[in-house]
């Protein structure tokens, strides 16, 4: 979410919600159970919409949001599953093509692209929070496939 906060005055952001990476009826990770992110692969658009809304509520996710319909058109067009970042320039062309997650999913590269165009945004190292106070940037991740929330770091 930090990259969104840093560059939302310069670029538009859109989260595209695609089919689940680790549903309960396919390859569910232990971390999903630990983080209480347990959903079967949606079979209908309504189910996918419900899960997407659960995600938004849980993380108070601020980025603009769109959901891929059950034809998975956006996923197929962008070869996006399980997670990926692209930047489209003003001419409608791919300006940055991120690697496929989880191992090649690198939000820092998208930040570098934005920094090269609009300048780097530096942040001071956070001071230790008061005991019991969660960090505002802390987002539980269902590794190895981080949620879209961890994408916009």
């Amino acid at each position: 979410m930090q990259i969104y906060n840093d560059y939302k005055d310069h670029a538009d952001f859109l989260t595209v919600y695609v089919r689940e990476a680790h549903p309960t009826d396919e390859w569910q990770m232990k971390s999903n159970v630990k983080d209480d992110v347990c959903y079967a692969q949606p079979k209908t658009l309504e189910q996918r919409v419900v899960i997407a809304n659960d995600f938004i509520k849980r993380f108070k996710f601020p980025l603009p949001f769109g959901i891929d319909d059950m034809s998975n058109g956006a996923d197929n067009a962008y070869s996006a599953w399980p997670e990926r970042i692209y930047i489209v320039d003003e001419g409608g062309r791919i300006a940055y093509r991120g690697g496929m997650g989880p191992f090649n999913y690198k939000p820092g590269e998208a930040r570098e692209w934005l920094a090269a165009r609009y300048g780097a945004v530096k942040h001071e190292a956070p001071t230790a929070p008061a005991s019991g106070a969660p960090s505002a940037e802390a987002v539980p991740a269902s590794s190895p496939a981080p949620s879209p929330a961890t994408a916009a770091k």
Partner: protein, 88 residues
């Protein structure tokens, strides 16, 4: 010579088994290790889009479950950062 290849195959098999055991320990379970190896297979690194390609359009659904819009409607005036993912 034949004995050498048998020996070689045996050692390779043991090494692969050991590597998978280590990966299973790191990943949490053999099932998770298998899943991670699948991620790494060449066919998983798919995609024909390149920098400079026209960005494909696609129709998306809004969070209300009813409204529709196109990715292309969000492009034009500023760069558009597309973040694909899911909750799980």
């Amino acid at each position: 010579m034949r004995r050498f290849w048998k020996w070689f195959a045996g050692v390779l098999g043991v090494l692969l088994l050991a590597a998978f055991a280590v990966l299973s320990y790191m990943a949490g379970s053999p099932k998770d290790a298998y899943g991670m190896v699948r991620y790494a297979l060449p066919h998983m690194h798919r995609g024909t889009l390149k920098v400079g390609s026209d960005a494909p359009d696609a129709r998306l659904v809004a969070l209300d479950g009813n409204s529709r819009f196109h990715i292309r409607e969000r492009t034009g005036s500023r760069p558009l950062v597309l973040v694909f993912g899911s909750f799980t």
